[in-house]
Symmetry: C2
Subunit: 210 residues, 2 copies
Amino acid sequence: MDTKDRVLNQATLAFAERGVDGTSLDDLAQRLGLTKQTILYHFGSKSRLIESVLSRSAQDLMSVLVAAAKASEPGWPAIEAVVRASFELAIRRPELIGVLRETSRLGPPWSEGVVEELRPTLADAEAALRSYMDDGLLSRHDPRVILLSSYAVVAGSVTETEVLRALDLRLDLRAAATLRRTLLSFLEAALLGPEAKVASTESGSSRATA
Amino acid sequence: MDTKDRVLNQATLAFAERGVDGTSLDDLAQRLGLTKQTILYHFGSKSRLIESVLSRSAQDLMSVLVAAAKASEPGWPAIEAVVRASFELAIRRPELIGVLRETSRLGPPWSEGVVEELRPTLADAEAALRSYMDDGLLSRHDPRVILLSSYAVVAGSVTETEVLRALDLRLDLRAAATLRRTLLSFLEAALLGPEAKVASTESGSSRATA
DNA sequence: GTATCCACTTACCAAATGGTAGACAGATTG
DNA sequence: CAATCTGTCTACCATTTGGTAAGTGGATAC
């Protein structure tokens, strides 16, 4: 009952840290005080364990961001909330981002499920950004590129540890706050430029830009 | 003579694509039409092959960016040139960025050399940004955070393939151009804000954003 | 009481892994 | 020609890997 979850959690941490190929079932089992066969009993095979980890991680990741977005006003406040939640997550559960990075490296057969998990949420986010732009709350950019860039900054802060070290930085709370402030100031400068200045808090369909 | 380089190149591609742990010497050898023992003859062990790949990749990466920076006027033009060179590299030799990401995952014993390879160049870049800010060419931000964020966007464009797919994007020349334009517009908006407007100086091509 | 199921174990196994030892062909050198 | 050096190969080897088979002890069902 409990064991399956423990395996899942430990596997998530290990996959994020050392990668799927760098994590053997024996390693994992030893870390949990079990034998490899217990893991295979619960998951059937390493493949299915991997699938479970990827799927659950993607769900967790998306649910946090969706919650943050839904809890705030449309437009800039929502963006701010999502960015804030992202950095909080990057500090609190960096393995979720690590696993997503690992998914990229594994590529297609493995990433299928994760991609399908991310797609609707990202589509919603894209649509939301686009509507903010239509309403003149934000100035116009390709929303997908905004999303990708923002995610890249958050993910990079967690996963590009050697660049961080080469810069004599490490991702503690203070650095995260600086990064968050910088990312927000980038987004603010680019998205709340002169075009979007007249944005009222109205979320109707009024176009304020010329 | 030639073989050693061929191994190095192929290993760089393979390590970037499938990771160090996901690449066996037998795989690598087969791909090159050799036997594993030939690889071991040239590099002694897999560890030393990895070290060679990491070290050479870091050198290549840095040399391209340094060249771009040195070939342009200080201030904003240099930033623009480096960003342009980065995206060009991301398209032309994505494996260099992939390997750097892999270095992060491998962590300390392996990353030591790479970090020491990156550090001086990044320190120069940091100093340069800081001096531009001192001279009023750019508005003030933590230069290290600017560097990290910019690198993250470029690297993310290459390595976060599943997020790209979930967004129905792929990194072709057109997407790279859009990304580059967006990153530059972010940087421009944040760095060439009101504070830095007076930067006309000797560089001749400084732009005013209005 | 016995039959069944559940969570987990010990005992194996075939394949793949990084690595060693030694041979062989071709060029270079004396 | 003999000797050596270089680059490659074949033949092994010990360890690790994911996975199978066959239990074992305890709870639950009837």
